[in-house]
């Protein structure tokens, strides 16, 4: 990072280029590549943000400049030039942007069709409220009325900043502080959109909340910021699904997701991630460096992270739970597939602080082709966490000879009353399993899908119904040609 900065030419600092840039870019509303305080002021002004938020961003930016890009993850990728990325890009005209799914890029719909989940059906039949993020600006929000009746707030975060500033200010950055890590700091400085959810006391959100993200314009990094607050005794299930069209250049994605669960609240956060993984040689995929963290602030609160990761060239992701409230529960269910040249370094952190806190980790890793995958998990039982319990299960499935799976479980126990259980297995899809299926009339490819889906079942069972079906299909589509 610091090297890149030193290599920059002096004229890049002058800002004249940007001034000119602003003029020509008003039509497309896209900032020229580069990052400095002016860019941040521009983003903040575009979003008509209050002073406190601009200052918050600037503070994050200043912090970021002092930070080093982390390289400890078990992944390899060429250096990212943060000055070559454009930090703001709106659809050509937000006002004439797609108002319905009819106006959505047919290619996107095609991908979904291949996965067997026509968006429209999902929207209408499944009662899913869709807050679609195209590039950096939310352009469509539906089912608002129904949610409003329940008192649920579900809107783009920029809208929340304007409409519910006190809620945003109270919670933003309290789970993932601006200086938490390199990517979180960058996100705090430049985030342009994302979702905001607030579930009032005692309310059970009447529908699954869903956001589809898509990365659109070439060379545009995406920096969503999601903030979900479940007030006392409330419940919400939030679904996040992603897909991206084929790209020639790697794209950076550094989102931050913050969850806050107060007393007796429950948040279920499910992700199906299917970004472009790059071609067989690893060219063109998306870099996914995301910070997801839940704060189980209240007593008896409960947060579950369920994720199905099949996309991205590089994934670096550790959804975490801070179990602060007594008797709070954190859960992490993950399926990750790496094939071709994909690399993934994922896992979770469970930080036990409250008494009798419980955490469950089930991680299923599948590697095919030249895929490399690491599970990196931290379970920390703090001094105060009397009677804490953790159960961890890490299973790896290898398809072929050239892929790899690695596990790095870290455990820190500072309270002797803790109960820890850990199980780990590595298996290969056996020739005997394949032959058994084939001898029953099932083709080799279908047999592989069946075996993989069986391997993932414990995690898929945690997904909401319509997502579980999608996850099954996604594995099949993703495994196409992965065997042989």
């Amino acid at each position: 990072m610091s090297e890149t900065r030193q290599e920059r030419k002096p004229e890049e600092f002058t800002g004249r280029e940007y001034e000119a840039g602003f003029v020509t870019d008003i039509e497309t509303d896209t900032l020229p590549p580069g990052l400095n305080e002016d860019v941040i002021r521009h983003i903040s002004a575009k979003k008509e943000e209050p002073e406190w938020l601009l200052n918050w961003r600037l503070e994050a930016f200043r912090h970021w400049q002092t930070m080093q890009e982390p390289h400890w993850a078990h992944v390899n990728y060429p250096p990212i030039d943060y000055q070559a990325i454009s930090y703001y890009s709106a659809p050509k005209s937000q006002k004439d942007g797609p108002k319905s799914l009819d106006e959505v890029d047919p290619k996107l719909l095609e991908t979904y069709a291949k996965l067997g989940i026509p968006l429209r059906e999902q929207e209408f039949l499944a009662g899913v409220a869709v807050d679609a993020v195209f590039d950096s600006v939310s352009v469509a929000t539906t089912f608002k009325g129904k949610l409003k009746d329940a008192g649920v707030i579900f809107c783009p975060i920029s809208e929340a900043v304007r409409e519910y500033p006190e809620l945003v200010q109270q919670y933003l950055g309290t789970v993932v502080p601006t200086g938490d890590n390199f990517y979180a700091a960058l996100n705090s400085a430049v985030f342009t959109d994302g979702s905001f959810v607030y579930i009032p006391k005692g309310v059970r959100c009447p529908m699954e909340l869903s956001t589809y993200f898509r990365i659109n314009a070439l060379n545009t990094g995406q920096f969503e910021r999601t903030l979900i607050i479940a007030d006392e005794g409330s419940y919400v299930s939030y679904l996040e699904g992603c897909t991206a069209p084929q790209r020639d250049e790697n794209q950076l994605h550094a989102a931050v997701v913050e969850l806050v669960a107060l007393d007796d609240a429950r948040i279920k956060y499910s992700t199906v991630q299917n970004w472009y993984p790059g071609d067989e040689n690893g060219v063109g995929g998306i870099y996914n460096f995301v910070t997801k963290r839940a704060d189980c602030r209240g007593a008896r609160s409960r947060v579950s992270w369920t994720q199905v990761e099949t996309g991205s060239a590089i994934t670096w992701k550790y959804p975490s739970c801070i179990l602060r409230g007594d008797d709070s529960v954190g859960e992490f269910y993950s399926v990750a597939l790496t094939k071709m040249r994909q690399e993934a370094d994922t896992g979770t952190k469970m930080i036990h602080i409250g008494k009798n806190t419980r955490s469950t980790i089930v991680s299923k890793g599948i590697s095919a082709g030249f895929g490399q995958q690491s599970y990196r998990g931290l379970v920390r039982i703090g001094k105060s966490a009397e009677g804490a319990r953790n159960y961890t299960q890490c299973d790896s499935l290898l398809i072929g000879e050239n892929c790899g799976a690695h596990t790095f479980p870290y455990v820190e126990v500072k309270n002797p009353t803790a109960t820890m259980e850990h199980e780990a297995t590595t298996s290969k899809i056996g020739e005997d399993q394949l032959f058994y299926c084939q001898s029953r009339g099932i083709s080799e490819e279908d047999a592989v899908n069946m075996i993989v889906n069986g391997f993932c079942k414990d995690v898929f069972n945690e997904l909401p119904m319509e997502f579980a079906v999608e996850a099954n299909r996604l594995m099949e589509v993703s495994l196409e040609g992965a065997v042989g």
Binding site: G430, E431, D432, Q433, F435, Y436, C437, Q438, S439, R440, G441, I442, S443, E444, D446, M450, I451, N453, G454, F455, C456, K457, D458
Partner: protein, 251 residues
């Protein structure tokens, strides 16, 4: 004629296991193959079902008039070949019924027939489960996942009942079954006997043949079929062992 095996030679890792098998089985016939451990009985069954890892160095297998050795394992299944495994394989998380439905429908599709829907299929498996008195709870469990040895064997015959093969190869289905289970499973096989279905039973024990009476009994030893006889041959083997067969063949 169902299947005709001529002068079949096959090896594993360069080691010759089958050294010239000749075997012809007519439609509706039940044949038993007996022989010492390691003589090549499972190897023969696996080669007929299409398992990888064996090299057929010479000879031929003709099944329903077609060259069997050219077909993939799933094609053989679609054409009516079924292998009940000596050691059934566990596939965790894959529902037993789901696996069979995929298999049955793949075959129906191959033959241009309408695929069965979930309800039709459920009805089919429930009915077939009764044939071998398989507890319906096994239908929704993972394929052989955590099944006992005997339960696995019973499940194999249940699968045979569902897939309705033309040629069923039962590789030591009797081993692992308790006395009652043997009677029940054998009864199921007997109900599946028909004039257009041939059955090959690989077994070490005469007891199975008391229940499922074979038309023909073969002795496979040292990679060859050394002797062929009627059902009384099994009784003789039970009494005298295999050495005399070898000596007779050498003479």
């Amino acid at each position: 004629m169902m299947i005709k095996i001529e002068n079949l030679h096959a090896s594993v890792d360069g080691k010759e296991i089958l050294k010239g098998i000749n075997l012809t089985i007519g439609a509706g016939e039940v044949h038993a193959i007996m022989g010492p451990n390691g003589s090549g009985k499972s190897t023969l069954s696996n080669i007929i079902a299409g398992r990888d890892g064996y090299t057929v160095t010479s000879g031929s297998i003709t099944y329903k008039g077609k060259n069997l050795l050219e077909m993939s394992p799933e094609q053989r299944s679609w054409e009516g070949i079924f292998l009940a495994f000596q050691y059934p394989v566990e596939i965790p998380g894959v529902n037993n019924t789901y696996l069979l439905k995929a298999g049955v429908n793949a075959r129906r599709k191959h033959h241009g027939e309408q695929e069965l829907d979930a309800m039709e299929f459920l009805q089919l498996v429930r009915e077939k489960a009764k044939l071998v008195e398989l507890d319906p709870s096994f239908l929704s469990r993972g394929v052989n996942e955590g099944f006992s040895g005997g339960e696995k064997k019973r499940n194999e015959i249940f699968q045979m009942a569902v897939l309705e093969p033309s040629l069923a190869l039962l590789d030591e289905t009797d081993s692992g079954l308790d006395i009652d289970a043997l009677r029940i499973v054998a009864g199921g096989v007997n109900k599946l006997r028909s004039s257009d279905r041939s059955i090959v039973m690989v077994t070490h024990y005469q007891r199975l043949l008391d229940y499922i009476v074979p038309d023909v009994v073969h002795v496979l030893a040292d990679g060859k079929i050394l002797k062929t006889g009627g059902k009384e041959l099994a009784l003789e083997l039970e009494e005298r062992g295999y050495d005399w067969v070898r000596q007779e063949a050498a003479a």
